[in-house]
Symmetry: D2
Subunit: 430 residues, 4 copies
């Protein structure tokens, strides 16, 4: 993948894409914060640039920080870089202004390009630039989560980009044998420290669904009283239901007896054939208990995605080793698409026959987000300081940048978070 | 005053002034909310227009609301007009945008002008338009409080508009005799319902200071340990000091051993000869206890301001009955002035010789904000629903619009609020 | 009153009464705290003794504190006596034990008796002992409030002490003329500093009800939707209604279509002819607004209680100057009585014909609790540090100790408190 | 173990032990709650009896509940048994009284004994009685945690039961080879559902310490600034440090330059040779990061405890299969002992040479508390509803009842809890 185009091209493309994402915004949209876990779009633009500036500072001793007054505001959670503005109050900051931050964004783009064009990169410098790029990929997706939250109930799109030429398919269960599996990234390109080292785990044989749980399946859970029956819920989940008054996935509401959703397609009736999205871990777990199923572990998920039993090899993606810039998967054209109905993109299925593992919704697994055996921290304060009270999600959503994804990617969120594009797939013991 | 120019001129002038106040803002400044008690400037622009639209709706049966989606956001606290957006989250709203609200502001300005120019006003319609105007006067001043809060630490003014040609003066105490005093508004122009009815109160003889307590006097209280000694504080005040960590008035900070302030003059050393500003009721009361003085009641304040003992008459202003559009007082040129040093504007003194009662800082009195005996509510949900847990302030600050002020004006705030331009003046029993 | 029996007899009677009040308690009842504003009964026993010990310490230089480890726990809010245990956590303290505190109570009783019997009291010592006694009177009543809270829903009394021989009476309004009235205590016995100095106030003529508002009258307000209609409520009151979910007075509940109450008579149907009790200031004010009435000021209440228009004199009690140890009023036999139906005790009426002003329920007035003009603090940190955010109640309840009451007594509570025996009486402008 | 004595003897011994634990309490101690996570001792007595009553109800259709008014208070968290009293307010309940609960305790003891003596137990009934017994074992230990919290700073024991005849030992690391290990309970006696099924896990080779981290080792971490340096802490841990102001383990305080502890030995200087106790998961993890070590997983801990490499067998306890009623380990004589210095009880070491794995402190592992692969819930709402946001502790403390412990026992707590007897042992990758 890296081979195909230069790091400077990749960087330029990255920065252009970030600006495309915020294109449809009104000026006021850049500044507001609609929940403590949402960040204002201007903050994202500033923060990703600030991180590149920290990199410039590290690799160029003579580098002069553009404006030191930005620093506290734009530092997310890096104690090593000093104090941080309270996360829940990012929307109370009018200076630096959006315009100042846009200029700052362009300036840093220019400075990095100049740097990349003029300096011969050694391995460690390349690694840190790579990290800055992948960091921005992550913020591109977070930006999309935040845009949906900021615009929910207010978004009225001109075009609804949905494909309707979908195969008629049925949910089914795939049987996968047990034994030792090598979990983790086995490729040679960029991956995060937390995907390493590849290591042996022992799996019992198991079954896993061919498709993510659909909105239609999930509605049955709702309509059968799932949100009112404590028996399906973890204790922490039941508390979350009652405290937050959850009765359905986030962004859903009932009107004239039908479930609707507010998303980038506008306000619309939920399509029962698309993967359910915007559920917390607790809801995924409760659905499974109701359905007498369970969530897969991340090892089970990864094996179902990557293992080619026939050839006894592991691939980087469900469909093989080719990057998603090819034509194999249901991957982000733009965040205006939303998740695709099940049965779309049959050519992206895994060797075992699991569909839509990448490109629709992140899938909750039952695995706690902790370091793999033998984990070595690659970036200070980046991933490993979050090794508690979070669950791993696997896959990647329709808003995940193509160049950032692979099946070994371990996303992680707290168990009650729902504003991300999160769904799940069921598994079973045999 | 009303006689001097028509209501349509007054309205035009009002609306132009509001726009002048927000002139120096950057776009982002319009949208943010820096504390739960602050409102975004765009909200103020929208809210005052929304109230005028409610008036249009009431006086014109065919009136069509411009955009019903604005209503919940722009309703402050009027239950009669339906639901309200949470006050503490006004800064989380990006739509309506600032531009939409600016257009809405201009539209409503035009509609009211058209109405005033085409319809013959009956008394009750005039009264309600008058209320809309005075409502916007109040928001002009609140806007200034909020601008200072939003821009504190960030404001770096080009000009510092201070006058230095000030008489050398000394604090002194004025003796005022007791007996029956007629408290309340006695004029014939607009006043709020809470200034009526004029009614008899019995006052003991008392003394009151010629000048508000100065920053210099207040520093002595601070430096003698006033904020650390429970004996000076009301129980609720002492709790407020400890909970909020108060050690000085709001916007003050100590640097190189000197007290500084952030205000519309920028970051600067506090001038000991200006009235202390940005103190809560609790701080005013604690200062008095420390100084072995007390706060005046609102009746004592008003008599000191308005009573002409010689001629046995009451005036509307300390300097007489002429409106402040004349030259008699230290009144708002622009909010960039700040309060004036004591001894400025000697021609604005009251008959008893009390100086700077109007035009510098609002002055806390010891009187609870309740209805006068015989009070009749003039405007539903306007003033009387606030008749608890607030104290009356008298006077008017440098940010109070000239056309809205008179000595009988009863401002009111909760006892721990400090972001207004609030000071005080001491009194004594005899 | 003081003349009738010696201070040592008074003290002995006081201490015996306190022990009578806690007589019916189970051991566990002494230790628990059922709300942040409730104190465990053992704390009251300890606290009143601790205050007497502080007095002993002050008047006897050689006095040795019984146990210094009690001090922080038993100090309520006196900063001058050092740190205080968090009020809301008094129920988390098992040591000192109830038994230790009971022994401490008896020990201090003995020490004070010995002191009073052996020392000739000078005026200032007598004054401070007097304060200790009146302080304990106050805690006797608070103890009763707290017992009701601790035992609510659990109390099943053997005897229901109610009198049924009640005159058939009707609510009516008494007309009272205006002019100067001398407000405050005019007698020569003990009173609190806040009842002084007697001072002139000017009153308009007014009307006041002969009886407190009854439970029956209040039910009409409830049934007509009073708790659901914002128009009757102060803004702070409406917030309190919604935040606390109030739908009726405290301790009331509806069963089989009838309003019931839990009190010292057990769980029972509310008697419509008894004064309404356990309402906050906000509820009293809302009832008045609904009924198109208003609350009296404390001056109006006092004049209605004490002024003898015929003889142009002021009495200490509504029925004259005799202390309630005589037979004139409906006063505390025991706290198991509860308030009496209106029309009971006609001989206790005031000269103007106002009934049951003392001995049934405390009556909310519209007056803020602040110092009278010319107020001088008599006891540090006792009354005057509470001069904010509280309203004055006048009268005295069935749980107020007889020896502590007089018509000039100013009780005060925050506006949302309801666990006291609080009702109200309506007034009107003329 | 079960074989050695009958279930009725076991039950009698259980109930007698619970009463022994509360023996030293004063009456008031039974009722108070000193933190939201602490329960009043009387609640524990009632709750364990209430659970046995629920069992009686289930196995005997004619059983009549002793007092239905106890039910809501004594239900901890079982939604299937109806509503529950708020956990954080268990200390606000005076009725049922301690005496009533003590009578209830005795009554239920008697009823169960009668039942066991008169009925022939089928397997499922025995299983549920067994669960009731083990449930009470758990509450015995929780009671001890709570007693220490209630009595901290107030406990002044007559005897300090410490053994001083301790071998001089040094911390050292044990090397353990990798491969497949069978994790989980392999015996035939009672175990919880969460210890099953025994299943294969793959382990890398690793090193683990022979002894738990000592107080002396932990002091080095403190003194080197560990609590002030964010680099050692997980993000959630660093937040916990700052929010709670942690500077040392719970119950520690510094006096005259020395670390002291309040525990059942009274207030005393911390003995550097005893295992550190009362640390949260976050502190255990931070210590490891500082020491460049890591926590073991629960599989690593269990293998180090139970695997006999030589004989290729797994034992139930580190010292073999004999229950701790024998003489092999440092196990609860009484909770007045506290943890023993390292090097005590050498005969209790595991085959690998790990010491004091059972009987001193629970040891945090890095494993999330989730079900083992193939987990089947054995008891509804007992263990599996807690499968989130908790970490597994292994071992057993000096307060763990002997009859309840085995090496496969999985204890679990939230990551910020410290009032339990929790320590840890370090491990390493090879």
């Amino acid at each position: 993948m890296l081979a195909t185009y230069s790091i400077v091209d990749k960087f330029k493309s990255l920065r252009a894409t970030t600006l495309q994402i915020v294109c449809p915004l009104e000026k006021d949209d850049y500044t507001v914060q609609t929940a403590p876990y949402v960040s204002p779009p201007k903050w994202h633009l500033g923060h990703v640039s600030w991180l590149f500036e920290k990199i410039l500072e590290q690799i160029d001793k003579d580098y002069k920080i553009h404006d030191v007054t930005f620093s506290k505001y734009l530092n997310s959670y890096y104690n090593k870089f000093g104090e941080q503005h309270d996360k829940a109050s990012r929307g109370a900051v009018s200076r630096p202004t959006t315009e100042q931050i846009q200029r700052y964004y362009d300036l840093i783009t220019q400075k990095i390009i100049t740097f990349l064009n003029t300096v011969h990169l050694d391995a460690s410098t390349e690694k840190i630039i790579e990290l800055g790029i992948h960091h921005e990929y992550q913020h591109q997706e977070l930006l999309v989560y935040d845009l949906q939250h900021i615009l929910a109930e207010k978004y009225n799109p001109k075009i609804r980009n949905r494909r309707d030429d979908v195969l008629s398919v049925k949910q089914k269960q795939i049987h996968i044998e047990g034994g030792i599996y090598n979990l983790g990234y086995s490729g040679k390109e960029f991956c995060y420290d937390i995907e390493l080292p590849e290591h042996k785990v022992y799996l019992n044989e198991y079954k896993i669904d061919a498709f993510p749980v659909t909105a239609g399946q999930y509605m049955e859970f709702i309509e059968s009283g799932g949100y009112d029956d404590h028996r399906y819920w973890l204790s922490d989940g039941w508390n979350a239901v009652r405290k937050n008054g959850w009765t359905a996935p986030m962004y859903w509401y009932k009107q004239d007896g039908k479930w609707h959703i507010n998303d980038f397609l506008g306000s619309r009736i939920v399509d029962p054939s698309e993967p359910v999205c915007h559920v917390s871990y607790y809801e995924a777990d409760a659905y499974c208990k109701w359905a007498q199923r369970r969530l897969p572990t991340e090892a089970e998920w990864e094996k179902a995605a990557c293992w080619n039993e026939e050839r006894q090899i592991k691939t980087v993606f469900p469909w093989g080793d080719d990057s998603p810039s090819g034509n194999h998967a249901n991957l982000l054209e733009s965040y205006l698409w939303g998740p695709s109905k099940i049965g779309s993109f049959p050519q992206g299925a895994s060797h075992y026959g699991c569909h839509q593992m990448i490109g629709d919704v992140w899938e909750w697994t039952s695995s706690e987000f902790v370091g793999y055996p033998g984990f070595k921290s690659g970036f200070s304060e980046y991933n490993d300081k979050w090794f508690t009270n979070q669950k791993v999600l696997r896959g990647g959503s329709f808003a995940t940048p193509r160049d950032s994804i692979r099946a070994s990617y371990r996303n992680f969120f707290r168990l009650d978070e729902r504003w991300l594009f999160s769904g799940f797939r069921c598994a079973d013991d045999v």
